[in-house]
Symmetry: C2
Subunit: 220 residues, 2 copies
DNA sequence: TGTACATCAGTGAACGCGCGTTCACTGATGTAC
DNA sequence: TGTACATCAGTGAACGCGCGTTCACTGATGTAC
């Protein structure tokens, strides 16, 4: 009746999405194989037809998270409205994405420290990719506006750190308090961007801002 | 021979520090009561003389983390050397603190998303306190240097987010690569501080930096 | 100081339970002729 | 198209194990007189 490989894929994905849901509730580390199998509607023994053990499922889950991140960026870019600040519409797209996909985001944040080194490394790789894409966006925007930025890579890293860390609070917040949180993130990002601006009258402005040396060239 | 209450305190602390060590290795969520009791050198049943269940131990553990954060700030302040940048010496103190107390820090970062809502809330409270103290330090420094800052609270929040997020990488890094990481954090913090500066010729500078409105008053 | 009793941190055995893993199996889907 | 055999996702029972929790207990420390 139905294609066999297709059915297998279906079950596999059911395992992944069940694990995702359970991980978001109680952390991937405390999942049991039996529990995930049960949630996916198969017997524990059948689990082994799909993954060698539960850590292998974990890696598949990280792939899913990475996919989610890329989709998030696409969403943010799509939602850019020329009448509104790029930063503001991106942050709002981010917040609405992570509250709608809270499972994905909770796992992302939770397993950054939680799990094994291999697990962690895989997550850092995904995050690194994300930062790189933000860097490229910043560079394009900087050229478009003719506002040169110093240390674009570092600015992107800082922006992502702030957005993810502060944004994480949204998940525990009632809906009506989220715009306030978005506003806070927007202000912080603009603060970083202002700090990354290469001043037109370099010496003067940089003397005011930081007494210590500023590298004259944008690194990266 | 020995005072009874004192002995009890000793065992209690042994439980906490064993849990801390184990949590850092595999996450608090995956600890078992028996495992912690064994590591502390008592029988599982004796555990109940100290905590009602393992989550109660978890809360004690968060207190320990909070204590560690406060100690960290004290350490950072102590290490300020007038010949070096405040930011740089603070970041270096931070990195050396978290690598020496990696267990504490791993738990702090790991359980931010991992555990129950109550657990998470307790951690956020500790972090909020930390941000507040950084805010106060920034305000003092800003007055001392006569360099007014806008949105000091937001700047502190962003600085803490960046420091903790990027700093977390230090734990998986070989020792010789850490100075490079510190340098990255220092640059990012200075970027944020530059962005938080209230410009002397306000209109001009702010027009360059962000086309959208900047709130004229420091909030908080 | 000495004695008799109370307190209570820690013991060790026992319980029922969910765990990961194995195994021989079933029965629908796929393939060769 | 029909038949005979192969494949293999999923089943259900069984295993030994570590889990959290309970219980009556022990014996050192503390207290009252």
């Amino acid at each position: 009746m139905v294609d066999r490989g297709e059915q297998k894929q279906k079950t596999r994905h059911l395992l992944i999405s069940s694990a995702l849901k359970l991980s978001a509730e109680k952390g991937f580390a405390s999942l049991s194989l039996r529990e995930v199998a049960k949630a996916a509607g198969i017997t524990p023994a059948a689990f082994y037809r799909h993954f060698h053990d539960i850590d292998e499922l974990g890696l598949a889950l990280i792939d899913e998270v990475g996919l989610g991140l890329r989709q998030l960026l696409r969403e943010a870019r799509r939602s850019i409205d020329p009448n509104r600040s790029v930063v503001r519409s991106s942050v709002e797209a981010f917040i609405s994405y992570i509250t709608e996909n809270s499972n994905l985001f909770r796992v992302l944040q939770g397993e950054r420290q939680g799990a094994s080194t291999a697990f962690r490394r895989a997550l850092f790789t995904e995050l690194g990719r994300f930062i790189e894409e933000v860097t490229e966006d910043l560079e394009k925007e900087s050229i478009r506006k003719n506002q040169p930025l110093l240390d674009v890579g570092l600015a992107a890293e800082a922006i992502v750190a702030v957005t993810f860390t502060v944004g994480a609070e949204a998940l525990d917040l009632p809906k009506h308090k989220r715009p306030e949180l978005s506003e806070r993130i927007v202000k912080e990002i603009k603060m970083i961007l202002r700090g990354a601006l290469a001043m037109p009258e370099t010496t003067r402005a940089s003397k005011i801002s930081t007494p210590k040396k500023i590298k004259g060239k944008a690194s990266r």
